[in-house]
Symmetry: C2
Subunit: 345 residues, 2 copies
């Protein structure tokens, strides 16, 4: 009572027991007799005692926290993944610390990979240096990954998903198909490009027109401008963009310049972020199970923290979502097909 904040000894004194007993009531109630337990609980209530986590963590040699390294917090793609992770981790008594890798230097970042800072790490950014991350705390890679690092990966089959997406465009009858890539060097960018090329090659179609991008809205807008700048007869009649955000930017630019989707160009995205089903036209895309990715990554990490030695990848399924932004190409020189009915599905 005289202290600023009651400690375990205050509770012990009031209850007339030792600190060891109080501690046991807190963390292992079953070994304490019912009567003692009740009086300790009463003392805890009276003193308003609250456990000091720093002390417990010091003794347990753990931190009770897990860090997620995210490339860009402003990207809505990640928020649902984080929500999934947070749910699983909270259930297991872990905090989720979120760090934005683009907001901090490498030095600061590596500080998170220390056992005294976090019990584990979930890395969502494939562009981090592999060096500092090696063998410090359990690590799980989600979505993206870092080639040099041996750690469980929770991901999707990006190449296959891209094949499905481009296959859909080809099935609609498109033959000139373009692709807007993610950031250069990113494993996802490469895989989605490769899938695009495979799908076209498998059907004997010419290789895609490839435009640069970086997953961001604005790079999609720039790609839209680049597409518009092409002579009309050279423009791909269908575009597959490596992220929904880019697809939004692309469609926005095309529409603002007076053309229509899918009449003048079919557009296919990737991710299925919530928003794209509300746009006009609603975006056809590849759905990534974002929350599931978060959950699995968190479960995986908890298992590793628990001592299990996981290896190998967890590949979650994707889904082709067909909405209104893709349609067969207008073959004849557009006569009066004012609005080619969107292929709602």
């Amino acid at each position: 009572m005289q202290h600023q904040r009651p400690k375990i000894v205050d509770v012990a004194r009031l209850a007339g027991v030792s600190t060891a007993t109080v501690s046991r009531v807190l963390s292992n109630p079953d070994v304490v007799s019912a009567e003692t337990r009740r009086s300790v609980e009463e003392a805890i209530r009276q003193t308003g005692y609250r456990l000091n986590h720093a002390a417990r963590n010091l003794r347990h040699r753990r931190t009770g926290g897990v860090v997620a390294l995210v490339p860009n917090l402003s990207n809505p793609f990640f928020s649902q993944i984080l929500a999934g992770m947070a749910a699983v981790l909270a259930g297991a008594g872990y905090n989720l610390l979120i760090a934005d890798t683009c907001a901090m230097g490498g030095e600061t970042l590596l500080g998170y990979a220390e056992p005294s800072r976090a019990d584990g790490l979930i890395v969502l950014d494939g562009t981090l240096p592999a060096e500092g991350l090696k063998r410090r705390v359990p690590i799980v890679l989600a979505c993206e990954w870092i080639p040099g690092i041996e750690a469980p990966r929770v991901k999707i089959d990006n190449r296959a998903a891209a094949r499905v997406a481009v296959g859909h465009l080809a099935d609609l009858g498109h033959t000139r198909i373009g692709h807007v890539m993610g950031p250069p060097g990113n494993v996802l960018s490469e895989a989605r490009l490769a899938g695009t090329e495979q799908a076209l090659a498998a059907r004997g179609l010419p290789p895609p027109l490839v435009l640069p991008g970086d997953f961001s809205l604005d790079s999609g807008r720039v790609a839209g401008a680049a597409w518009l700048a092409l002579p009309a007869q050279e423009r791909p009649t269908a575009m597959f963009l490596a992220s929904d955000a880019m697809a939004c930017g692309f469609i926005g630019e095309v529409q603002h310049r007076g053309l229509a989707v899918p009449r003048d160009v079919s557009v296919m995205g990737f991710d299925d972020i919530e928003l794209v089903s509300h746009m006009t036209p609603a975006l056809s895309t590849i759905r990534q199970p974002r929350e599931a990715i978060g959950r699995r990554a968190a479960q995986c990490l908890l298992a590793m923290i628990g001592g299990e030695a996981l290896e190998g990848d967890i590949v979650l399924p994707t889904e082709l979502v067909l909405r209104a932004s893709t349609a067969p190409p207008v073959t004849a020189p557009a006569i009066k097909s004012r609005a080619a009915g969107p292929a709602r599905l």
Copy 2:
């Protein structure tokens, strides 16, 4: 070397000094002689020593972490605020823990308000119970706030911003104006509704048609359906929605049902999330300085942790952003104004 992980005594032994000196080199290098410092630094390098934060925090009676309580991580509105906070906090050596209040019960949440868990709290959710949050750790409220709690607030003038938004619609000539609210009971919902009513009353216009919502995309879609369900001549010719997300949902629904914005209805949002400038039509809205809100909230909290006693609110400016979703009402019964040119600005 024989230990799993080198501790401060290992460094001390190797450097031939006491642990106190090593500690001083780490946290207060100036008081140590240059020569000793160098040999300690060398020993640190050789042993690969890394500080144990749990131990330091225990001794310092602090945690080095700040918790942000966010109502919904999946909402892109918050991500940029968090990015701003993270930047400031990282600069001051604090971690940012992010907790999603809708993913966890009140018990868990209150656990975060303890000094042994976090050195401070930034609350972005106005619907939390005021009880448990009182007088535990420094708290800053951002965006939303909790009426019962006395803590610095970083916010915008929601009422004035709503007046500006609705004033714009009225200036365009609209007389039947509707409003889609945020979640009931939310302070932001109330303020934005009040501003809407004030703006209309000040111009002698009839009170708004008010539709329910909850800031989410889908509630905007539902509001769109409700608007469509009205007899055409009773529909407001302009709608002010309390969030951009709802505006997106609203516009999507209206467009999917074959009507056009702003020809058939002008739409005004709130927030200016990145995406809305890319939609078609680009959304007119009220810009909130999201990153600045995050930064100021973090700075404010750091000041409080440092012992300053802040009181009173910090009100950041908003900005009316005019794009293409608002236009004068089509007064004559639509004759052949196929596409009333969007009032780009």
